[in-house]
Point group: C2
DNA sequence: CGTTAAGTCGAGGGTGACCTCAACTTTTGT
DNA sequence: ACAAAAGTTGAGGTCACCCTCGACTTAACG
């Protein structure tokens, strides 16, 4: 079912872009819960227009985060390229949380129940896939505590989300302490 | 300035107790943000009566948490009585977060900006005092990483608050991993 | 140009939380 | 028993957010 609807009218395309830009900024600054009215205001567009283009909050998420989540793949590939299994895993964590720290919206996406946007879900699954390989390698090399699993990483991610929110200058230290506890 | 106001009328005292009971339950179940209307409803009292007795949310907190926070002193004393410095510190953490896990309201109190209730603030300071001694002892014994400080414990507490909320059955595991990273 | 489909606008209705206050009810003290 | 003081009540005002819809505006195309 190809949705080959007529292209947007010029003014509509412009407004859509302004909305997307505003939402991108505000999600990053304030998180996913920012009031939609704020987005409309920053885009200099009426609330009605916002709803025309993006009927639900998830429509914004679905339009914004797939490309943002591409960064997940980048750091995943980077980590897979690293030979030392511990360095690969630890570096991945560092990079992952650096991303979260930069973008409050990403922090929310990775923490809360996923929005029902297939592309977002897919990107997260790919990310989890990378993590699983990295954990597997580190386990095989005997450098990671033997009972570590992807579920622990999910827990850590939520914990880090909180730490990043509360004390953006402390998360690296917190992570490094935790990571010490991880070595075999 | 002694506020020797006349004692409460019988019905008023009864309502005050019902409100306190309801608030205690709901804070523990749902956290500090529970709507005041819910408290009134559970107490079977009108919203106006609630505001008569407790004009602000902090008035509830101030009436409820000092005794709840006495538990902090108990686990603090218990830890100070333990001879092995590592065991004392690690046991304290375990006990502290067990308290948090039992009571969503306590979790909130320990995590968020403190309510401006002097008794609550005082209890938290006493708790921090205990922790400071325990950290000092462990450092002196060389069993705790040399740069650990009370600020790290504050960070950990916020992280644990999140972990407890998201995965109440995982926090012990998470804590034990972190604690591994703490040993000297 | 003029028609018209597409798009924009914002007032306004809905919800849930906060808080107040004037009218009513109950306790208390004499 | 009664008056005054104390307490209770809930309707309703405020606010912030959600979302809709009918009247207006404008780009697109012949």
């Amino acid at each position: 079912m190809v949705t080959a609807s007529r292209p947007l009218r010029a003014d509509a395309a412009r407004n859509r872009d302004k909305l997307l830009a505003a939402a991108t900024e505000l999600f990053a600054e304030r998180g996913l819960d920012v009031p939609l009215e704020h987005i409309a205001r920053r885009a200099e567009v009426s609330i009605g227009t916002l709803y025309k283009h993006f009927p639900t909050r998830d429509d914004f998420v679905a339009s914004i985060f797939p490309q943002r989540l591409a960064a997940l793949d980048v750091i995943g590939e980077k980590a897979l390229a690293e030979q030392d299994p511990w360095q690969a895993f630890a570096g991945y964590l560092e990079d992952l949380y650096a991303l979260q720290a930069e973008d409050r919206g990403l922090n929310d996406v990775l923490t809360r129940a996923l929005p029902d946007a297939p592309q977002v879900v897919a990107a997260c699954h790919r990310g989890a896939g990378h993590a699983e390989v990295l954990i597997g390698r580190a386990l095989a090399a005997g450098v990671l505590r033997a009972d570590y699993s992807i579920a622990d990483l999910a827990t850590l991610t939520r914990a880090m989300a909180q730490v990043i929110r509360d004390s953006p200058d402390q998360w690296r230290r917190f992570l490094s302490i935790y990571a010490e506890g991880l070595r075999a």
